[in-house]
């Protein structure tokens, strides 16, 4: 058997790690080199920031390929990567040609999502913080030039022209809202309107309505997510009866953004699992620890807001409306025993 060179071993390790993280033993089996050789090569690759150790115990070490070009380093195939590059490159070129400028990040991401859907291209897109995005990070300042040319390139180019033209004179907020409506995601649209109202100093009645709408749209099938939404709805609602609502708008906005991170990380996981990614692997290797951190931060923000509310609470008695009194009448004898 011909002895493999170091370079060959490194290349093969990166190749076998393309789809999912593996232990040293698994890599050793796939590359067909002994454990010690593979372990040394992995240490070198780690120093070169091409892989990272994601599990490290006395008994097992698991490595993941670092690509740096997808969200959370999520794996995509080389073919998908080249296709994404082709689309990013083409949209950037179209912008340069027609608008004499580079697209903004939102413009690039939203245009590529539309192309993928309208041309029925098999590439992963996911719902995350600001709507639907390509799984590969859209960065207009990067060089995406590629020799890859897909089938139906001409048709794709025509589609790109139409889509880029459609984006004319729209700001990021408009592009996002348009996308939420186009793909029927009411929750994202509702959050966008709620945050806008909080930032712009919307009045009490408007905020109550938007808050209620947002709360009703939050996914109830995931209790841990819903609980955050419920706490946010409850504490902001309570502040609306105090005189100090405006004083704490910033804390409310920060809380909403952090609750939103938890909600949309679940959306991201749902998007990925619907496209064949394993939920277990996603949680174990890619998103689990980040999600835990997000939950801690969201919880801290809400606890902070709840304790501010408690200290700001005034003794004034607030009467029920006629409709609320009917509800109270039904609940009157309830004690929860």
């Amino acid at each position: 058997m011909v002895k493999k060179t170091n370079e060959e071993i490194r290349r093969r390790i990166l190749s076998v790690l393309e789809h999912n993280p593996l232990s040293v033993r698994q890599i050793s089996e796939k590359v067909e080199s002994n454990w010690s050789t593979i372990n040394d090569a992995l240490e070198d690759l780690k120093e070169d920031l091409l892989v990272k150790e994601i599990v490290s115990t006395d008994k097992i070490k698991v490595y993941q390929k670092v690509t740096g070009d997808t969200y959370y380093n999520l794996p995509i195939t080389d073919e998908q990567r080249q296709f994404f590059r082709y689309l990013f490159y083409s949209v950037i070129q179209e912008y340069k040609l027609e608008k004499k400028r580079l697209p903004k990040k939102t413009e690039l991401a939203k245009a590529v999502v539309d192309i993928i859907h309208e041309e029925d291209i098999s590439l992963p897109t996911v719902w995350y913080l600001y709507g639907q995005i390509p799984l590969m990070i859209a960065d207009p300042s990067r060089d995406y030039s590629t020799s890859f040319v897909p089938e139906h390139a001409k048709k794709i180019s025509e589609s790109i022209r139409v889509i880029v033209k459609r984006q004319e004179n729209k700001n990021s907020h408009q592009l996002r809202s348009e996308q939420y409506n186009k793909y029927g995601n009411k929750l994202y649209d509702s959050k966008e309107r709620l945050i806008t109202s909080l930032v712009r100093g919307g009045n009490e009645k408007e905020i109550i309505k938007l808050l209620s709408e947002f709360y009703l749209l939050c996914p109830t099938d995931k209790p841990e997510v819903f609980e955050f939404a419920e706490r946010f709805n409850s504490v902001v609602g309570k502040f609306l009866y105090e005189d100090s609502f405006d004083k704490y708008r910033t804390q409310m906005i920060i809380s909403l953004e952090n609750v939103w991170k938890v909600i949309t990380t679940h959306s991201l996981i749902d998007s990925l699992t619907s496209q064949g990614y394993s939920r277990e692997e996603l949680m174990q290797f890619y998103l689990g620890s980040s999600l835990e951190n997000m939950k801690i931060v969201a919880d801290e923000c809400l606890s902070n807001l709840e304790s501010i509310y408690f200290s700001e609470l005034t003794e004034k008695d607030i009467s029920l409306t006629k409709e609320e009194a009917e509800v109270r009448g039904i609940m009157s004898s309830w004690t929860g025993e």
């Binding site: 209620s212 409850s234 309570k238 409306t321 609320e324 109270r328 039904i330 309830w334 004690t335």
Partner: protein
């Protein structure tokens, strides 16, 4: 000096349920009047505080279950993951709320439920912040031995815990009132019976007031 008042969870919940513009249950009126008129200091044990918080959450779940049923009519109230925290006593309230709101727009109902709950919680938090002066018996200091002993007489474990805390607190306090609104387990006869048990003979018992067994006192409703 006026005797202090050590409250059971249900008294606080009923007090917070009172509204001058709603049709109040008799016990709600009694609890509200008692708290409004009481002169002595208010005491709670930490167990009751945690129970109050649990019940506030449970009350929200009732509304969530009704809204879910309005959103998805096939949903069975009490069958969602959170809904399973509701007891058989809670479900009829959710069903009644659903029946009286099912033909209304869900958006309006959601706002109405939310506002009603916020005002209910507001009274609870005001009670905790401004009226309760002493918080006693941290959870880790609750006597398991005493709880288990009381459990031989009282089936409901939560009631045993509250009474155990009241008894523990009473041993280092001037005689206070132990105020409850429990119909089933903590009735005056049972309380007298407990005092007779040999193992509890050395305990000083607080003065027992169960508002379920006191006479109603009509008062003029305060203006909204």
């Amino acid at each position: 000096m006026e005797k202090k008042n050590f409250f059971d969870t249900s008294v606080v919940i009923s007090y917070a349920s009172y509204s001058p513009v709603a049709v109040n249950a008799e016990i709600v009126e009694k609890c509200y009047n008692y708290i409004q008129d009481a002169k002595g200091i208010f005491i709670l044990c930490y167990y009751v505080i945690s129970e109050i918080n649990n019940r506030v959450k449970k009350r929200r779940i009732i509304y969530d279950e009704v809204l879910r049923k309005m959103k998805y009519p096939a949903h069975l109230i009490g069958e969602s993951e959170k809904g399973r925290d509701l007891s058989n006593n809670d479900i009829p309230y959710a069903k009644k709320l659903y029946e009286s709101n099912k033909n209304n727009p869900i958006e309006d109902t959601s706002i109405k439920f939310n506002n009603e709950q916020l005002k209910f919680e507001r009274r609870i938090y005001n009670f905790l912040k401004n009226l309760v002066k002493e918080r006693l018996i941290p959870l880790n200091e609750m006597s398991d031995k005493l709880v288990n002993l009381l459990h031989e007489f009282i089936t409901e474990y939560a009631d045993c815990k509250v009474l155990a805390c009241a008894l523990q607190a009473q041993q280092s306090e001037e005689l206070f009132f132990f105020v409850t609104a429990d119909k089933k387990h903590l009735n005056p006869n049972m309380y007298e019976f407990l005092k007779e048990d040999d193992r509890l003979k050395d305990y000083l018992f607080p003065e027992f007031i169960n508002l379920m067994f006191t006479k109603s006192k009509k008062r003029c409703a305060t203006p909204p």
